[in-house]
């Protein structure tokens, strides 16, 4: 039970590190962005897990529902905003990658550095 209790956090931490590794280690710009997306998604999962209350049901308020245990809806609302932010970031990042490809003819970080140093 103790292990299951922190199981979700392990998923969060591992996904976070996979994403972070890709951002740092990959030299292809698109792969970096994929890593960034994984990195952000891990945080979304962190928020989603903390909203769940054991035995809680969907937080819909009705007159005939009394004494019911509800899950916390706020983290989901927050993370909806963060997902939108994440999508915009990825979209803008991909847009910049397209422009880099147009200008430099490559999306490998090392190639771009080499061209700039010429």
């Amino acid at each position: 039970m103790q292990f299951l209790g922190i199981f979700y956090y392990w998923v969060f931490a591992i996904l976070l590190m996979i994403g972070f590794y890709a951002v740092v280690a990959k030299i292809n710009l698109v792969k970096k962005l994929i890593g960034l997306s994984i990195f952000q998604s891990a945080v979304f999962l962190l928020y989603l897990t903390m909203g769940k209350v054991t035995g809680g049901t969907a937080p819909i308020y009705q007159d005939d529902v009394v004494g019911q245990l509800f899950s916390n809806p706020l983290p989901q609302v927050l993370i909806l905003t963060a997902i939108v932010v994440g999508i915009s970031t990825t979209a803008l990042g991909l847009g910049i990658v397209v422009r880099i490809k147009e200008e430099y003819g490559s999306i490998e970080e090392l190639d771009i550095q080499e061209i700039d140093q010429r």
Binding site: F20, F39, Q40, V85, S88, R99, E103, E109, I112
Partner: protein, 497 residues
């Protein structure tokens, strides 16, 4: 009817944000610029009104949509936010007023409405960070301003801006996501997102590990956003290859807004509650601040592109601001807030002068600029005044902030002498790197094969001179920034409930 004044904190964000989509539609030439400038000036007027209010002791609290804090989102403007709001809106207005000719040249007419729209979004995002009292709202505004500033930095013609922006985007997003993780952990433990409420409730759980982890994530994430050494690698290239007006705007205020959030979080939320946080905060940030001052200034000594030189000098200045804060004393904090204001004046004016120089010179390295003062005496004279302020010559704004910083450092005992030595060494290095530019421009013979170079446009010169002279004005009339800085430092050390 409710008077307009009560809505000022909301209007500060809403005015530029609502005008941003309108600006996109303004196709006729010059109209987009005019609308953006008008919106920015309006934001500046609101910021001045808020500053006047806070000077008379008022604390603006605004329940967004009528939902009372801590359930709803609260906007809250105290003297610290008012001071940084002045910096942000002032920097935006002045660079827009001065920058039209420069921006017309770097941004093609058909894309100008989009560019100015992104500029306004960046402005409203930065203003939003400053007015809100809600931790998650800060994250959202931070991302709005960051996304918009990636767009304006990449808006120019220099292709090297693109990899620079990509790097900024990656590092900025990592910083913001770290901040998000930190807030998540705090929310998990306290169940609140309102900063004031957080600082009350965190007390009960302060000894638990998630709070410590959160403090770490938030501090590192914001340090990344604020380009604290050694997390600064995104800054020099982004500042160097951005359109000149964008550099002037962002260099004056963007990192300072992140520093504002850093100070607010660490002092209002953690300082009172975490055992030993004072020591940890100082032990973590003071060495970084010292390194930033020394490393930033050293690199600036050897840099030949003057935009990059000034960018590295900005790194050093961020170090000074942090140094004051890491003393964790009233004098230190108020010196560091004052430093934010005066550095914005000096660096803003310097980058405006660089923008004016760029009207005549396509390459901005020291060799190409040899003898520039013969062609552009007014521009270079403004540069000299702002440069003196950056160094901290008596009679300029830069002197006042360095003086208070030194005074605050001396209060810290033996360690203080070491810090004073660092400040003095940093200032001496500033003398050298500013002098290198002055020497090249004023005393070196001009390079051969120079075509005729004319002085920058008159409006640009006037605004640049206003910015340069304000360095002298605030060096002599120090009451306004000092009063605000003192009140800000007090509100950080003893936050109101």
């Amino acid at each position: 009817m409710i008077p307009l004044e009560t809505h000022l904190p909301a209007l500060q964000v809403v005015v530029p944000m609502l005008l941003a989509p309108v600006v996109v539609l303004l196709r006729p030439r010059g109209l987009a610029w005019a609308a953006a400038t008008a919106a920015s000036l309006m934001a500046l007027a609101i910021a001045i009104a808020l500053t006047q209010g806070t000077l008379s002791g008022e604390l603006y609290r605004y329940a967004m949509g009528g939902w009372e804090a801590p359930y709803g989102i609260e906007l809250r403007v105290d003297s610290f936010s008012a001071l940084v709001l002045l910096i942000v809106t002032g920097a935006s207005s002045i660079t827009l007023l001065a920058g039209k000719a420069s921006l017309d040249r770097t941004i093609e007419a058909s894309r100008q409405p989009l560019f100015y729209s992104a500029w306004l979004l960046a402005l409203s995002g930065l203003a939003g960070i400053l007015v809100t009292a809600d931790a998650f709202n800060i994250f959202v505004f931070m991302e709005i301003s960051s996304l918009a500033s990636y767009v304006v930095i990449a808006g120019g013609t220099d292709r090297r801006a693109l990899p620079a922006v990509f790097k900024y985007l990656i590092m900025g997003t990592i910083g913001a996501t770290f901040y998000l993780i930190g807030i998540g952990l705090i929310y998990m433990m306290t169940g609140t997102l309102n900063l004031a409420d957080m600082s009350l409730r965190i007390h009960e759980v302060a000894d638990q590990r998630p709070i410590l982890v959160a403090a770490g994530f938030i501090t590192v994430g914001l340090a990344l956003k604020a380009a604290v050494f050694p997390l600064h690698v995104w800054l020099p290239n982004a500042y160097t290859y951005a359109p000149h007006a964008v550099t002037a705007f962002l260099a004056a205020c963007a990192t300072k807004v992140s520093l504002y959030v850093l100070l607010r979080f660490d002092f209002v939320v953690f300082q009172q509650n975490l055992l030993g946080h004072e020591v940890q905060f100082a032990a973590f940030l003071m060495p970084l601040a010292v390194l930033a001052i020394l490393a930033g200034s050293t690199v600036a000594l050897f840099e030949s592109n003057i935009k990059r030189l000034l960018a590295y000098s900005s790194l050093a200045q961020i170090g000074y601001i942090l140094l004051g804060a890491s003393l964790v004393s009233l004098a230190g904090l108020s010196a560091s807030v004052l430093f934010m204001f005066n550095h914005a004046l000096a660096k803003g004016a310097l980058f405006l002068a660089v923008m004016a120089l760029a009207m005549g010179y396509s390459r901005l390295d020291l060799q190409s600029l040899a003898g520039a003062a013969k062609h552009m005496p007014w521009t270079m004279a403004a540069f000299v005044i702002a440069g003196l302020s950056l160094i901290g010559i008596p009679g300029t704004a830069g002197f006042i902030s360095k003086w208070y910083l030194v005074t605050a450092a001396l209060e810290a005992g033996t360690l203080g002498y070491f810090l004073v030595a660092v400040i003095v060494i940093g200032s001496l290095m500033a003398v050298v790197y500013i002098w290198r530019i002055i020497e090249a421009a004023w005393f070196e013979p001009e390079a051969e094969s120079v075509t005729v170079i004319r002085e920058a446009p008159v409006t640009m010169l006037i605004v640049t001179w206003v910015a340069a002279l304000s360095n002298i004005y605030f060096g002599l009339a120090t009451d306004l920034p000092r009063e605000l800085a003192n009140a800000a430092a007090e509100s950080l050390l003893w936050p109101l409930p």
